[in-house]
């Protein structure tokens, strides 16, 4: 309880809140336009970079495309992963998720950008025959019984199918969770669309549906991250046998997703003028799991590291050279510093966590560190020449390939594309979930308790 007797923030009336948000939705500010132009420009640059790369290098060699693969990996663990935070918080019914829910969910549309990048990448990874793969497609050298047969199209076709499922889930998620708001906004504009009028049954179907699609999105995203990390990184490096790597990618997804939410939240509060609804409490609450994810990043990374390092097998030593201390060591140290050390040391302090700027800075570190991590993993594994990938061990550690201008253009374009979609959608539906916020406002009252006042939160069910 409050020992200093300060009163909790007064309750905001639901109608007042709704009017405010609906009012904002009607205006398009100059800042928004400027942001859209910049992001759109970057995206176009990315497309140009892609075309130049395709024309000059073609699709025969995998090496020049490593940074594009890293971009897809990065988007998968940041933008596309942002909804995971909200899906999880919704499942445990945390109240503080409410103002961030819509923002995070819109990021799921970043999967469209990933799909766009994925299609060309698909043709760059080797076909399934005679490579190490989960799809039991060997030519008998492995001693695998022939009855398991050869499954056609793997792994590209399966990865593509899963990615399309992910995009569908993302669209479904956004569609379902924006539905009450779209109806509300439509009503205000005098546009009556759809057959949704908010009966008890419809609400139940909507909330259960959001939960269900959310769970599907969660599972599919983690699944696709696992597949992507296997087929587009691990399987390309001979001797890299690291079962935790898919799960590590999953953890970076949770960490990067939450970091994306926090940074976006700050931007929304600062530049979107949402101080009234996004408070320090939200940053504070979000910073705790972020701290936990930083520790988990280290934990998963360390679990790999100690096993490879302890075994002292030549096979693993070369893989470690490639991934940790060899040509891409700069990116490894960058990732280690920015995904673990820096955010951990900042978030350790309660005074940092208990502010708006502190968690945002830590989240920014993580977003940069994550990119560095993905470059280490994807550019590193894509620099292994095609001829050796069926070998038992990586005999020669390939030299590093640092990004050129076109790589940077592609990376920036991909990232800008994902943000562009979110901002574009923000004009179509409100960036703050009106129905979810109203629900929260209704469930909270301020009451006297002993000699002070406390807020009382309803826990239906």
């Amino acid at each position: 309880m409050h020992s200093n007797g300060h009163r909790p923030a007064p309750a905001v009336a639901v109608s007042e809140f709704t009017e405010d948000i609906v009012g904002r939705q009607a205006i398009t500010g100059p800042r928004y336009r400027r942001a859209m132009v910049i992001l759109g420009g970057l995206f176009v640059l990315g497309v140009i970079g892609f075309i130049v790369r395709a024309v000059t290098d073609g699709f025969d060699d995998r090496l020049p495309w490593g940074y594009l693969a890293a971009t897809a990996g990065y988007l998968l663990t940041t933008a596309c992963a942002a909804p995971l935070a909200i899906i999880g918080l919704r499942a445990i019914k945390a109240h503080w998720r409410r103002p961030l829910a819509r923002l995070a969910e819109l990021y799921s549309l970043g999967t469209v950008v990933v799909l766009a990048i994925f299609v060309p990448l698909m043709f760059l990874i080797p076909s399934a025959v005679d490579r190490r793969t989960m799809y039991f497609q060997s030519s008998g050298t492995s001693g695998l019984p022939g009855t398991l047969g050869r499954i056609p199209g793997a792994p590209q076709a399966y990865d593509l199918a899963l990615l399309i499922a992910l995009v569908v889930a993302a669209i479904g998620l956004v569609w379902a969770s924006t539905r009450p708001d779209r109806v509300l906004l439509g009503n205000r504009r005098g546009v009556h669309r759809g057959r949704w009028w908010g009966s008890i049954k419809q609400w139940r179907v909507t909330t259960v549906g959001i939960g269900l699609i959310g769970a599907i999105y969660f599972v599919t995203l983690i699944g696709f991250n696992s597949m992507y990390s296997l087929d587009f990184a691990m399987a390309l490096v001979p001797g890299w046998k690291d079962a935790i790597f898919p799960a590590f990618q999953g953890i970076t997804a949770l960490q990067g997703g939450l970091a994306t939410v926090i940074v976006s939240m700050y931007v929304l509060r600062r530049f979107g003028k949402m101080e009234r609804y996004i408070h320090m409490e939200h940053f504070w609450a979000a910073s705790k799991p972020l701290l936990a994810f930083c520790l988990l990043w280290f934990y998963f990374g360390w679990s790999t590291f100690i096993i490879l390092w302890y075994g002292r097998m030549p096979v693993e030593q070369n893989v470690m050279q490639l991934l940790y201390f060899g040509p891409y060591s700069v990116f490894f140290y960058g990732a280690f510093l920015l995904c673990f050390v820096a955010p951990f040391l900042t978030l350790l302090w309660n005074s940092v966590r208990k502010s708006c700027l502190g968690p945002t800075v830590a989240a920014t570190f993580i977003l940069i560190g994550n990119l560095s991590d993905k470059i280490r993993l994807y550019a590193g594994s894509w620099s292994v020449p095609n001829e050796v990938i069926t070998d038992h061990a990586l005999e020669v550690v390939p030299a590093a390939r640092y990004p050129d201008a076109f790589d940077i253009m592609m990376m920036a374009g991909g990232i800008a594309g994902a943000i562009f979609i979110v901002l574009w959608m923000a004009r179509r539906v409100s960036i703050i979930s009106i129905w979810e916020m109203s629900e929260g406002l209704r469930l909270r009252v301020v009451r006297p308790f002993l000699r002070t006042h406390v807020s009382v939160l309803g826990k239906p069910e």
Partner: protein, 243 residues
């Protein structure tokens, strides 16, 4: 001051081509190293001690099948997997290339045996017993191991030490071939050649230079000090199919 002895590195070459599977090395090792008597029940319990053992495997498909033999002993890895996992430093590598087992320190976790890719280590499940008549046949230079500890091939370190001591008494360096492990001494076919690879004159170099040389499970990077020479048999594909 004691003059530091010349750095030595003991290695053994096993010429699998010559092995007839006669088991003389096994008997010699048992006698030299105070290895408990393996009764029938020890074999049935799968707890028999054979610091060196002759493994037989088949090559080819029936009826074109051949029996092959290969002597098997502690590989004295330079990069031994058993060493880092021992919690009490009971096993470690010394500067002569020997993988040493210190009996009095061992607590019997059996971690080392689990991590040995060659299964060359043996655990004393029972207190060893000898018949009264064999009491005085024990080698006084070798510790009798009690129950609850690991043991394994030592390259007959007691012979190495005795040779070194003799050399020191006479004020000279150890001579190649002056001593050899019991197994090598007993082998009628000269399968096992033991020597100091730091000594450029030693006989082992002649064998180490052969292009038939290979090490067991080299992909693990264990850097073994036992080097095998593969079969010369023209029909043989390699020295051992994965049995």
């Amino acid at each position: 001051m004691v003059s530091t002895p010349r750095e030595r590195k003991w290695q053994m070459v096993v010429d699998a081509d010559r092995c007839t599977g006669c088991q003389a090395c096994v008997i010699a090792c048992q006698a030299e190293n105070n290895i408990p008597i393996n009764s029938e029940s020890h074999f049935q319990q799968k707890r028999a001690f054979t610091w060196i053992r002759i493994e037989r495997y088949w090559e080819g498909e029936f009826p074109e099948v051949k029996a092959r033999f290969i002597p098997f002993l502690c590989q004295h890895c330079d990069n031994a997997p058993c060493e880092p996992v021992c919690p009490v430093f009971a096993t470690y590598h010394n500067n002569e290339g020997l993988n040493v087992q210190v009996y009095n320190r061992c607590v019997g976790t059996r971690f080392c045996q689990n991590n040995c890719p060659y299964h060359a280590r043996y655990f004393n499940f029972w207190e060893p017993v000898w018949p009264e008549t064999l009491r005085n046949a024990l080698n006084p230079d070798v510790t009798v191991r009690g129950r609850g500890i690991m043991e394994k091939c030592t390259f007959c370190v007691q012979r190495i030490r005795r040779g070194e001591q003799d050399a020191k008494r006479e004020g000279r360096d150890v001579r190649d071939g002056e001593f050899q492990p019991a197994c090598a001494q007993a082998c009628p076919a000269n399968v096992l050649i033991f020597g100091d690879v730091r000594d450029p004159q030693s006989r082992i170099h002649e064998f180490l230079a052969k292009d038939r040389r290979f090490r067991l499970r080299e992909e693990l990077g264990t850097e073994t000090n036992v080097i095998y020479l593969s079969k010369l048999d023209l029909e043989a594909k390699e020295v051992a199919g994965h049995a």
